[in-house]
């Protein structure tokens, strides 16, 4: 079958002080090919751990992940990753960064050249090909990271708070860009975010996770990502259901935070 399957995933590890942490417990999830899912949750809910396991950087203590029918055991080009920041290679210019994947696969420039240039056009960096990445603004750097990931043509794109370090205006533009790229490329995307609005806007499916142990708390199916592909995101935010969902999820996360606070007070 095609798609990403996560089955009974648990992650537990020991700390140096003798206690152990249950970062994830029995997380199960099916993601069809081409779906866009955002993951939301208070800090410590294991969403980054989940993403790192899917990417193959961490091994779960139990459970398994399958992509298109075969088991995930380590990092691979089929699962691309976009980080918050600092993952670009400063010693390469923009075009060299974007073409890193094809070049490492040993492909010739005549094979990847036009695709890379097309992607640079799509993310609006046509005139910055030869620039050093440290000369670009934060938003431009994230566009390079997106293009670099897409140039490798992965099946799944994993995004770990990719827009978290950007200012509000740039962030909004980038959100539109992510939706546009999703629609154009038809990639499966998992996006972790701290922002409820972003999770609503960019989630065809929205997963709310709860902490201690990290687990799936609630899942939504939302129309906003599809709406946002064609219209202004500010219009989408005016949708009556948008405000309602936002309040609902915000209070859900607030409750979790309060529970954590209460629990740590009990412990004290």
């Amino acid at each position: 079958m095609s798609g990403l399957t996560i089955e009974n995933l648990s992650m537990r590890f020991d700390l140096p002080n003798g206690t152990s942490v249950q970062a994830l417990k029995d997380v199960s999830l099916d993601l069809k090919s081409g779906e866009l899912m955002s993951v939301l949750g208070p800090s410590g809910c294991g969403k980054t751990t989940l993403l790192n396991i899917v990417a193959g950087f961490l091994a779960p203590t139990s459970g398994k992940i399958e992509l298109n029918g075969h088991r995930v055991t380590g990092p691979d080009r089929e699962r691309g990753m976009v980080f918050q920041q600092g993952a670009l290679f400063e010693w390469m210019n923009v075009r060299e960064n974007v073409s890193f994947g094809p070049r490492m696969a040993g492909r010739r420039e005549r094979d990847w050249g036009s695709n890379v240039d097309h992607l640079l056009d799509v993310v609006g960096l046509r005139d910055f090909k030869e620039k050093a990445v440290y000369e670009l603004s934060g938003g431009m750097q994230q566009r390079v990271a997106l293009a670099r990931c897409l140039a490798n043509d992965p099946d799944v794109i994993l995004m770990d708070e990719p827009l978290g370090a950007l200012d509000a205006l740039t962030r909004e533009k980038m959100q539109s860009l992510v939706l546009k790229l999703w629609k154009e490329t038809g990639k499966t995307i998992v996006l972790i975010t701290h922002s409820v609005e972003e999770a609503l806007l960019l989630g065809e499916r929205l997963l709310v996770m709860a902490p201690r142990p990290g687990r799936i708390h609630k899942e939504y199916r939302l129309p906003f990502a599809d709406l946002g592909v064609d219209s202004d995101l500010r219009e989408v935010k005016k949708h009556p259901e948008f405000g309602q969902r936002r309040e609902e999820i915000l209070s859900m996360i607030w409750d979790m935070e309060e529970e954590i606070m209460g629990r740590s007070e009990d412990a004290a």
Binding site: G74, P75, Q84, E90, W91, F100, M104, Y134, C149, L158
Partner: protein, 421 residues
Amino acid sequence: MIVFLIYAAIFIASFFVVKLIVKTATNDYASLKTVTFGDESAVRPNRIASILSVLTIFLLWAAFTGSTLVPSFLHAPGPFIGTAKFDYTAELSTGERDDATVSIVVTRAGDDPVLPEVDPGDGFAKNDVDEIGAWRSGLVRVDRNDEVPEGVEHRVVAVDGQPLEPGGSVHTEYGRIGMSPKGTLNFEPAKGWQMEPIWLPAPEAVVARMAEIARDGYRDSTLWEHLGYSLFRVIVGFLCGAALGIPLGYAMGLSDWFRGWFDPIVEFMRPVPPLALIPLVIIWAGIGETGKIILLFLAALWIMAIAARAGVSGVNISKVHAAYSLGASKWQIMRHVIVPNSLPEIFTGARVAMGVCWGTVVAAELVAAEKGAGMMIMVASKFQLTDIVIMGIILIGVIGFGIDVLMRWAERILVPWKGRS
């Protein structure tokens, strides 16, 4: 002390003079800042001050050595040169007294004194003539030519009319006349404020000596051989140290076994000053090139290993993760991520290592060497050839500075992304 006061006075005076004369016409961003005290970025070096600072040092050097490079009215008062005269009053144990004049020709070292003919004069005390070098002192045996009858004591009781006791002294415009406990006069011509050439030669003397050594060499080697040998040792020692230290550092950054195995060695050797290894290296390898290069190799090795290790550890894990997700192999990650990412750290280490190596080679040559900049100044110091010593120090400083400038230039060209991630 006086020199420091003059230096401080020039520092303060030039500050006010420059502030008064030079109106800064710049209108860039930093010049519009109202808060400059405490804002380090607003403090830019005043280049006029830098130029004046260098000029001041040379001016003071020239003024206090009586250099011909500066007009003589800028000279600090020099030592007394010429013919010093003083009268002394001698008394015999018979109670008889007589005066006589002593003429002392004071000359600079190297000049031949021309002693004037002096009329011996009347009485039992006769006029004397003597010579002495500037900055020296000497006994003046005024009684040598005095006509003292057998069995009669002769002693000097006054100089220039001022009574003088054994152990005391009289100051005249020519210098100090003292009397030893046994009653012999000694004369110390006025020294002035200038430095004696054997302590501090004039700038032109150093330049002349440099030209001479550049032409004729020193101790069977030309100046360029001396400096070239020192540089050669530094470069070979550094390259050997880097050739082993960088791979070692990478291995320590990438493998827990290497890290565990070499950590104690590196952590122990790092704080050992390379100078402390000189005796052992001399015992093992002698004072030839091998010993020097081993020493510099050891000086550079640990610095480069630690720099390479820090370069590997400093790689943002996101970069490595990103490269893995893009399908890179371990070898490709090493080649395209870890090595380029560690280059800025390695360059910083290389700059430190070159500085340490340069210092170490000079010190090692001071201890024992047949050629080299350090050996040159060490041997010269044994013969009190201060001009060679100062020339050597200046050349060593210039070369050390040149090495650092070159390294910084190479860093800008080769790792432009340093500090920009």
